[in-house]
Amino acid sequence: MIKARVTVTLKNGVLDPQGKAIEGALGSLGFEGVHQIRQGKVFDLELDTSDRVKAEEDLKAMCEKLLANTVIENYSIALL
C-alpha cells in the first residue's frame, strides 16, 4: 500500500476571496505582517499498490479528472 497526499491550490492570478477574508481575520487577532494567504485543499489517499511509478501516474490522472479544476487550480502530488 502506498500513502499519498495531493495538495490543490489556486493558480497565481486567480483571486481568492476566502484567503483575503482569512488574512483579515488573522489581522484582527493581532497577527501582523501576514500576506498573500491562499486557501487550498489537501487530500490524503491510500492506494492498493506498491508500484510507485504507477501510483504517481494514477494520482496525476485523478487530479486532472476530478481532484483539481485545472482552469483555476494547480496540484502537487507527494508519495509518503
Binding site: P17, Q18, L67, V71
Partner: protein, 223 residues
C-alpha cells in the same frame, strides 16, 4: 418542441424548471435521472439549479462526472440545445462543456435577490426573443457564481460573442469577471447562466422577463 430535465441528488430547482417548461411549451418535459446513459429524443436538455452532491469538492464537480453527463455531451455534439441554470451552469463548466470556472462569490455570502441582465448576444438559440442590449430582470440565488476565465480564452470568447448575459446597472452580485452572467459554447447550442429565468415567467412571479429564454429555445416566441 420536446424538452428534458436532468435530475441529480441535491438539485432542487427541477420542479420550478419542469413547471416553466410545461407552461411555455405546452407539454411536460421528460425527466432524466443521473444514472441514465441514454437521453430521449428531445430538442432541449435542461440542467436545473440546486446543490448537487452537497456542493462537495467543488460546486458541480461530482455531478459533472455522472453517466448522464456523457449522454448529454453526445447529444450536445449532435446539436441538441443544452441549458444549465445556476448549479446546472456550474456542472457544465466542470464537465468542460463550457469555458471558465465558477468560484466563491467575492462577498463570500450566498446571494438571493433580483439583478438586471444585459442581453449581450441576442442571436443565440436561447435569446432570439430579446433585442440586442435589452435589459431584463432576473432572480439569482447562489454562493459560487463568480465567473473566471483566463485572458486568452476570454479574448477568443469575445471574438465569438460567447458572452450572452452580463449583470447590468451595477447589479453584479458575485464579483464575476467583466460582469459575466451567462456564456454559450463555441457551437452556440450550450448555454450556462447563474440567474434563474424559470422564476420570472408569469405574472405571479412579478414579471415575465425570463420567459424569452425558454420561448427562444423551445421555438415558441410568437406564442
Amino acid at each position: 418542441m420536446k424538452s428534458a430535465v436532468v435530475q441529480l441528488p441535491g438539485l432542487n430547482r427541477d420542479r420550478d424548471m419542469i413547471a416553466a417548461l410545461t407552461r411555455i411549451s405546452g407539454q411536460a418535459p421528460v425527466t432524466v435521472w443521473q444514472t441514465e446513459t441514454e437521453i430521449p429524443d428531445v430538442d432541449l436538455i435542461v440542467i436545473p439549479g440546486g446543490f448537487s452532491y452537497g456542493d462537495y469538492l467543488r460546486c458541480g464537480a461530482i455531478a459533472a462526472r455522472m453517466p448522464v453527463m456523457q449522454a448529454i455531451r453526445e447529444k450536445a455534439e449532435k446539436g441538441v440545445k443544452v441549458l444549465g441554470v445556476c448549479n446546472g451552469f456550474q456542472i457544465l463548466v466542470e464537465a468542460g462543456m463550457l469555458p471558465g470556472a465558477l468560484m466563491r462569490n467575492s462577498s463570500l455570502k450566498f446571494v438571493c435577490k433580483q439583478v438586471k441582465l444585459e442581453v449581450v448576444n441576442a442571436e443565440t438559440d436561447f435569446t432570439r426573443a430579446y433585442a440586442p442590449g435589452q435589459i431584463i430582470r432576473c432572480p439569482v440565488a447562489h454562493h459560487d457564481g463568480n465567473y473566471f476565465v483566463e485572458a486568452e480564452t476570454l479574448k477568443a470568447m469575445n471574438d465569438r460573442n460567447q458572452v450572452v448575459f452580463r449583470y447590468a446597472e451595477g447589479t453584479n452580485p458575485n464579483g464575476s469577471m467583466l460582469d459575466i452572467a451567462g456564456v454559450v459554447n463555441e457551437a452556440g447550442n450550450v448555454l450556462g447562466m447563474m440567474p434563474h429565468p424559470e422564476n420570472l415567467i408569469e405574472a405571479a412571479h412579478g414579471g415575465t422577463d425570463g420567459r424569452g429564454i425558454f420561448a427562444s429555445a423551445l421555438d415558441v416566441i410568437a406564442a
